[in-house]
């Protein structure tokens, strides 16, 4: 655990308590149907819980003071995301409070900030980033096209999956104004209200009971004031998205490990507590080591955002890749070490496994971030 100041420590403790009491794993279960799919009518989040988060100020943690935020920094928001990860609490906090707010902070002009930030900061507006178009993270291959039309633009194309897409009011849509697939210079970001005419959305039934969406944009017209920035802004957003997701994944891994460790200390087999077997002790010790690497990488990346560290891109990819591997190994071992019970829908292990797998894919998989780190370090 990083050395936190008093306010950060209070925020972390508060988030840990709230997640445990208000959004335990049973809350996530309520989003599943009996057989393990997402419930058809569920939206992958709990509006009442979201309102409470907003009331506690979490939606405005990284928003500027003049727009209703607390400007408390990404380390603070990362602490909250980590605690939510521990109980697999489903919410659009990452999409809205980190990514959408950052988009406007970093790339918005005064009018755009005044229009959107107060609502994002107080939670009345849920924002998200619509970047993916296929099964793999590949923003530079964006095909959704923006064509100039009068003073504004017309958008055509498909986005899938859009995280929290079914509940978002505002989407930051990655589009192409020129060039072909692979050309990053032609990328632009647009602010698109999700009730814009021509935008339709369909829910995806995902293994973690979240409801990401498929967006279909058919001649969606936006004004000149919808344009937010280009590929550099997108990189900055994706760094923050990766780090925020890594913070959640750290919480997932930490809790998966703690739950498994508790089981090793209580389960009796062959007349002995299984945690007394050296093979399992050493596996636990190795996993604990992996968790240390993951925590360091995530915390270093969060600090780098707040310090405007030029090493941020490298540290973002380091965090996402290191924690991606850690959460993968630990969630697998959570199932394995629980034995048969770990394979059942009734037990939490499967829920951790599923969310870990989804999170690892979001905003660049472990392999994607290794490749990016390799490129940045000239390997």
């Amino acid at each position: 655990m990083a050395v936190l100041n008093e306010e950060q420590q209070m925020l972390k403790d508060m988030a840990a308590d709230w997640a445990r009491e208000r959004m335990p794993v049973t809350a996530l279960r309520a989003l599943y149907d009996h057989g393990g799919g997402g419930r058809a009518e569920a939206l992958g989040y709990d509006p009442d819980a979201w309102a409470e988060m907003a009331q506690m100020g979490w939606t405005g943690i990284v928003a500027p003071l003049e727009h209703g935020g607390s400007d408390f920094g990404c380390m603070g928001l990362g602490l909250v995301l980590e605690q939510l990860g521990r109980t697999l609490a489903a919410s659009p906090l990452l999409s809205s409070a980190l990514i959408a707010v950052s988009a406007l902070r970093l790339g918005g002009n005064a009018a755009q900030q005044a229009r959107w930030l107060p609502g994002l900061a107080d939670g009345s507006v849920i924002g998200t980033l619509a970047v993916e178009e296929g099964p793999h993270h590949a923003p530079e291959r964006t095909a959704l096209v923006a064509t100039p039309a009068g003073d504004g633009w017309t958008l055509n194309g498909i986005k899938r999956p859009v995280q929290d897409g079914m509940i978002a009011h505002l989407a930051i849509v990655v589009a192409r104004v020129e060039g072909g697939g692979g050309d990053r210079d032609g990328l632009r970001l647009f602010l698109v209200p999700t009730d814009a005419p021509g935008l339709t959305r369909e829910p995806l039934d995902q293994i973690d009971a979240r409801r990401p969406a498929t967006f279909t944009l058919t001649n969606v017209a936006v004004g000149a004031d919808a344009l937010l920035g280009g590929a550099d802004l997108l990189d900055q957003l994706l760094d923050r998205a990766a780090i925020g997701m890594a913070a959640e994944m750290l919480g997932i891994a930490d809790q998966a490990f703690d739950t498994t460790l508790d089981y090793l200390k209580t389960r009796v087999q062959f007349g002995a507590i299984i945690g007394s077997f050296q093979a399992l002790q050493h596996r636990a010790a190795d996993l604990f080591g992996e968790l240390q690497l993951a925590r360091s990488a995530v915390e270093a990346a969060l600090v780098a955002i707040d310090n405007d560290d030029p090493a941020l891109p490298r540290l973002a990819s380091l965090a996402k890749a290191i924690v991606g591997e850690t959460v993968h190994v630990i969630s697998q071992q959570m199932v394995q070490l629980h034995g048969g019970i770990g394979m059942t829908h009734e037990h939490d292990a499967g829920l951790y496994l599923k969310r870990a797998c989804v999170a690892a894919q979001c905003y660049g998989s472990t392999a994607w971030h290794r490749e990016r780190w390799a490129r940045l370090n000239r390997y």
Partner: protein, 396 residues
């Protein structure tokens, strides 16, 4: 409170500038990044190097080899923060502490806690001046990782101790002046029958024989004690208290073994030379490249972990992660040295002579030597036992 913190920060910044200037004036540039002169290298080779002599004299004169020790013990009486600054500034110029040794890293801190004043005055100044070098007489042929089974016997003869037995894996024993040893003073108990003794290697009845390892290195020795007489005053702490003292010393050892190594020179440029590059300028072997990247990322995360844990420890947080750090470090560095040799291909397989370059031979020997990392200082398995029981609370 805040004002105190800030004024300390200003003083530290002043000290950093002072240290930087002094090191710039005294550290011989020819020694920059010369790992061969570090403490496990040959004493004779180091002593014969005029730059090293100058550097050592400058540092011992200043007391900066042991900056936190009191001046009566040969140190500079600096704060921990200032000592750390010296280390950081040294690292920044590719420098090293010329007297880094078992004396400075392990025995010194232990004597400061457990030694009496006479022992401190007798030994610490000579460690600080680098005139007296130490080896660690812990492991025995039948007591490596199971250290508490040691049998080297120490008998109270009234006016002296009489020591008989054998130690093994004693680093640098053939070049050491003194040995801090664990000896058995009570055969009826295991952990509780061990004492901590300081032994002059010039004493009659001691023989040290170097052991040749797979890397060709000879700094490990077997040491034989045949009825060696040791003065009564050389016992540290109480009789049979040796295990407690040793555990503390081993903490200092693990700390030093898991210290941040400044050198994370990327292997990529070398790989580009040895393996070639593809059309995009990448290492022209996707498999080797992927494994190198994974290892380099783990290395970076490891260094971040050492910094994080050091910061937490400074702020009073738990510091029981040393066994974890040691295992992570040995695993990452072993894999790194394997990758380096693999990248060199057949040129990484030479033992001596042409056509192998110095760097290639060094890489090969370093790879073979790295196999020791997960064995010495408590094996991988022993460290994991410590983590499982003490950090994770798993049942014995």
């Amino acid at each position: 409170m805040r004002a105190m913190v800030e004024s300390a920060a200003i003083e530290d910044q002043d000290f950093r500038l002072e240290a930087r200037a002094w090191l710039a004036a005294h550290f011989p540039p020819a020694l920059a990044n010369v790992p061969g002169l570090l403490f496990q290298g040959s004493r004779a080779a180091a002593d014969a190097n005029p730059d090293y002599q100058l550097w050592r004299a400058a540092m011992t004169g200043k007391g900066w080899g042991v900056p936190n020790w009191a001046s009566r013990y040969g140190g500079a009486g600096l704060t921990m923060a200032q000592g750390k600054i010296i280390g950081e500034e040294l690292t920044a110029i590719g420098g090293f502490n010329p007297i880094r040794s078992y004396g400075t890293m392990m025995l010194g801190p232990t004597l400061l806690e457990y030694g009496n004043e006479a022992q401190k005055l007798e030994h610490l100044p000579f460690i600080a001046s680098h005139e007296r070098r130490w080896c660690q007489g812990f492991s025995e042929p039948g007591a490596g990782s199971d250290l508490a089974s040691l049998t080297t016997r120490c008998t109270d003869m009234g006016d002296h101790w009489l020591v008989s037995g054998q130690k093994i894996w004693t680093s640098g024993a053939d070049e050491a002046d003194w040995c801090f040893a664990l000896v058995r003073t009570d055969t009826s108990r295991k952990h509780g029958g061990i004492s901590f003794l300081l032994i002059d290697m010039a004493s009659e009845g001691i023989e040290a024989r170097p052991i040749v390892l797979i890397s060709g290195s000879t700094h490990f020795c077997e040491v034989f004690f045949n009825d060696v007489k040791v003065p009564k005053g050389n016992l540290v702490g109480e009789v049979n208290q040796g295990w407690t003292i040793a555990k503390r010393l081993l903490q200092f050892e693990r700390n030093s073994l898991s210290e941040v190594k400044a050198d994370i020179t990327p292997l990529a440029p070398l790989a580009h030379d040895y393996v070639g590059t593809d059309a995009l300028g990448r290492i022209d072997s996707p498999d080797l490249r992927a494994r190198m990247v994974r290892n380099a990322m783990r290395h970076e995360a490891y260094l971040a972990t050492v910094r994080r844990i050091a910061q937490e420890a400074k702020n009073g947080g738990p510091s029981n992660g040393v066994s974890t750090l040691k295992n992570l470090w040995s695993g990452i560095i072993q894999e790194r040295s394997e990758l380096l040799v693999e990248m060199m291909g057949a040129n990484g397989l030479g033992w001596a002579g042409e056509p192998y370059s110095d760097a290639e031979r060094e890489a090969t020997h370093a790879w073979l030597h790295s196999k020791a990392f997960s064995i010495y200082g408590g094996s991988y398995e022993v460290q994991n036992n410590i983590t499982a029981k003490h950090t994770l609370g798993l049942p014995g």
